[in-house]
Structures are given as structure tokens and as C-alpha cells.
């Protein structure tokens, strides 16, 4: 049976991708950011999964205003890194896992989550920057990836509670797959940031660290934080943090298992407009 072995959380700032692609990782500005992922890179080598279920949001790249899915699961064989306007990032294409993705889609829809199934999607920095942070610059990504896109662009976005419940449903879906796959689930986006208006540049270290604390030890309670609190405390784009609750909801302690082990925790300000947060939790 397939099993979720760990969850990884990380911000997915576009400037981080640009810094990596342009060879700036050793510059004083960027060096502390990338150093924060040294542990994670080694950990991922030592704990290579068969599949990564990667929760991210599209930033007006694959999805225009023509069609805005609340939750979209990628069941395609592969995904091309998108041209977001700066030209496509020079990173490997993303290989999917159609079989597991279709299984999860079926199971999760039957658990009353109204997914959109996507077979053609270019993937933007929301998906590729977390891979870059955790894998560096490989010829190919280490394993297949199932992209799972969440609408956090147009309101209303799904609530923290809905995201957390979705995580539970994904865990059930994975565990009912009949092949022995080692699956990691990644939650990306955040932490505090605001990209618009006179309030651009908002950073809230206290909120972010409270979020990390509660994500580890009180995810159920954290899931009840309403949207407006994210906007006020973590900036209008800080709402991306709800995606971390999907990954967290898929961990086994939520379903009555033992508490996960915190393998790594990292926090840094700034990367461009954004606070960077990163966490690795292993199931026990």
C-alpha cells in the first residue's frame, strides 16, 4: 500500500528561482536563504520518495480568468515549466504520475471534494521553485510529481478548514492505492507577504512563527483561522499559507497516529518581498 512518509513546507518566491537560475546563490543577500535548505537537500537525497504530491498555487499562469478551479489535480504524464513573462525557467520538465493521480482524484471526489481534473498545465514558479530549493539544479527532478493547484488568487479562496479536511481525504486516498509507493506531500506558498498597494512589503515574523508553531503542534486549531486574519496579519498574499494545511492534514497524527518528528525548521526575512519559511515533518 502507498504511504505518506513525510511532509515538506516551503515558500515559493519567484526571485529565489531567478537567483538560482542566474547563479546568485552565494551572494550575501541570497546565501542565508539557500543555506536554510542545505539540510533539506541532503534529507531529500537520503529519503527519496517515489512520488511528490505538490500542493501549490498557480499565479495567473496556467489558469486565466476564463476558468478558475478551486482545487485542480494534475493527472497528466508531464508538465512544462511555464513562461511567466520572463521566459521559462531553465529547469527540467516535471514528470507526473498519472496512475496515482487518477486514483487520488477518484477517491477524493468520492469523499465529496469537487476537484477539477487537469491533463494539460504549464507549471509556474509556485511548483518549480520548491523543487529547486529542495533539489538544487539537477538534470531531472528526482521523482514524479503530482501537481495540485489551489485557487488563492480570486476570492473566495478555500478556507483553512476545507484545506485541512482535504489533506485528510488525500491521506485516505494514498493509503488505498495498492502499490507500495513512498509518497511525500509538500505544501508551498507563504509566508507573510503582500505584493500590492501602499501596504506592499508587509512582513510579520510573530505571525509566521506562531503559524509554524501551531502547524507543528495544533494544526486542527490553526485550520480555524479565518481568511481575514491572514490578510491583516500576513499580508494579502500571505493567504497562500492555507495550502500548508492541506499537506499537514495528510499527516498520520491527524488520523490518530503518533506526532510527527520535526526534522528541520527554518525562517528568514527577506527574499524579495517575502518571508521565507521551511519545515520538514516525518511521520512516525
Amino acid at each position: 500500500m502507498a504511504k505518506i512518509t513525510a511532509s515538506v513546507y516551503t515558500s515559493h518566491v519567484p526571485a529565489i528561482g531567478a537567483a538560482l537560475d542566474l547563479g546568485k546563490t552565494q551572494e550575501p543577500y541570497w546565501q542565508p536563504v539557500f543555506q536554510g535548505y542545505d539540510f533539506g537537500k541532503q534529507w531529500l537525497k537520503d529519503n527519496k520518495p517515489d512520488v511528490i504530491f505538490l500542493v501549490f498555487n498557480d499565479h495567473a499562469t496556467a489558469f486565466s480568468l476564463e476558468m478558475i478551479p478551486t482545487f485542480a489535480i494534475g493527472t497528466a504524464a508531464e508538465y512544462t515549466p511555464a513562461d511567466e513573462g520572463w521566459g521559462p525557467r531553465p529547469v527540467p520538465k516535471v514528470i507526473g504520475h498519472p496512475e496515482l493521480a487518477a486514483h487520488i482524484a477518484q477517491s477524493v471526489i468520492q469523499q465529496d471534494f469537487d476537484l477539477t481534473i487537469v491533463n494539460k498545465m504549464d507549471v509556474d514558479h509556485g511548483l518549480t521553485v520548491p523543487l529547486s530549493l529542495m533539489c538544487g539544479q539537477p538534470e531531472a527532478w528526482p521523482c514524479p510529481v503530482i501537481p495540485f493547484a489551489v485557487n488563492v488568487v480570486q476570492y473566495p479562496v478555500p478556507s483553512g478548514r476545507r484545506c485541512f479536511e482535504l489533506g485528510k481525504a488525500i491521506r485516505k486516498a494514498v493509503e488505498s492505492f495498492d502499490k507500495p509507493l513512498n509518497v511525500q506531500i509538500w505544501g508551498t506558498g507563504g509566508m507573510s507577504h503582500q505584493l500590492q498597494g501602499p501596504r506592499a512589503g508587509l512582513i510579520n515574523k510573530e505571525f509566521d512563527n506562531m503559524f509554524l508553531d501551531r502547524l507543528i503542534s495544533d494544526p486542527e486549531g490553526l485550520a480555524s483561522v479565518p481568511h481575514i486574519d491572514y490578510v491583516r496579519e500576513a499580508g494579502s498574499e500571505g493567504i497562500e499559507l492555507v495550502m500548508w494545511l492541506i499537506a499537514r492534514g495528510a499527516m498520520s497524527d491527524v488520523a490518530g497516529g503518533p506526532a510527527p518528528t520535526v526534522k528541520n525548521r527554518f525562517y528568514h526575512v527577506p527574499a524579495s518581498n517575502t518571508a521565507v519559511g521551511h519545515l520538514i515533518l516525518e511521520n512516525n
Binding site: 531567478a18 480570486q154 505584493l195 500590492q196 498597494g197 479565518p226
Partner: protein, 166 residues
């Protein structure tokens, strides 16, 4: 509109909801078109002509031509869409975000290196943080403004920022 909007009292912040989305539909779809290299070239060759291919309002077109992102947002634009204009101009997300505050690029960058903008005073309209309406524009633009105030005609809520290309 009868949608509940608990987010209208956050200073300096526009939430991109269904109403904004409707208002900005063609503006944002225009931005999406800039994800194709050939469209970026055509836009750069003749911005006005390219804009005229889209059923946008004249206000929206002017805001794009002026690279006035605050104005674009007030007309229904969303930053993730508008970012495609910045990308076409070769500007970073930090340059774009900074341009909406009135700060110079260096001022904004230094604010971020210093830990970013504090949430204190900036949670609710009526507090006294730097993102409140009475404190706009910020930084060098604000200081200039205080020295030589704009003519009283200025109805635009967000004055042009120094970093934006005309």
C-alpha cells in the same frame, strides 16, 4: 453587490474578489497575453496599438501605459496578472511591489532588508501605520510631495511613483 466583504477595511489593500475580477476581466486577460514572447514583442513595438486590440476601458489603458499599478488594481487588475507587464519590462516583483508604495527602489529594498513593513498600525483602516491613506505616498515621493504639493485637481488616490516608466 451583496457579497460579504470583511476585507474592505484593510489599509492599502484591494482583495481580488468576484467584483474586482469582473471589473478587470479584459485588463487581466490582456496581461495574460504577455506570457507569449511574440505578444511581448508586439506590445513593446506599439503599446497603444496592442492595447487597442482589447476591450479595456480608456482608464485601464492609460493606467497600463503609465505603469501605474495602484491605478490598475483600482480598475480591477490583480498583481499576479499585472506582473506580466513588469516581466515584459524586465522588472522584478520587488520593483513592481515597491512602485506601489511611492518609495524609491532602494528605499523599498532597504525596508525589506530591515525586516519588512510592520503590521502594527496597518491592520485596520484608521490606525496610524505607514500604509494608511494619510501617509501616502511613502519615502522620497512623500517627502517631495510635502515640499511641493500637487495641484488640487488630483483625484487619483495613488500618485505616480518615481520608479514607474511613463
Amino acid at each position: 453587490m451583496s457579497l460579504e466583504k470583511p476585507y474592505l477595511d484593510v489599509p492599502g489593500t484591494t482583495i481580488f474578489d468576484a467584483e474586482q475580477s469582473r471589473l478587470g476581466y479584459h485588463l487581466n486577460q490582456f496581461c495574460m497575453s504577455l506570457m507569449k514572447a511574440e505578444n511581448r514583442s508586439r506590445f513593446k513595438a506599439d503599446e497603444r496599438a496592442y492595447l487597442d486590440e482589447w476591450p479595456m476601458s480608456e482608464d485601464q489603458k492609460q493606467a497600463v501605459l503609465a505603469r501605474d499599478l495602484n491605478r490598475c488594481i483600482s480598475l480591477g487588475g490583480n498583481i499576479y496578472f499585472l506582473a506580466k507587464i513588469g516581466a515584459t519590462d524586465g522588472r522584478s516583483f520587488q520593483q513592481m511591489a515597491g512602485s506601489m508604495t511611492g518609495m524609491t527602489e532602494e528605499e523599498y529594498r532597504n525596508m525589506m532588508i530591515g525586516g519588512g513593513r510592520s503590521a502594527d498600525g496597518n491592520r485596520i483602516v484608521g490606525e496610524h501605520g505607514d500604509a494608511q491613506a494619510e501617509n501616502q505616498p511613502q519615502g522620497e515621493a512623500g517627502r517631495l510631495l510635502k515640499k511641493s504639493p500637487l495641484p488640487a485637481s488630483g483625484t487619483a488616490p495613488h500618485p505616480k511613483t518615481p520608479g514607474s516608466e511613463q
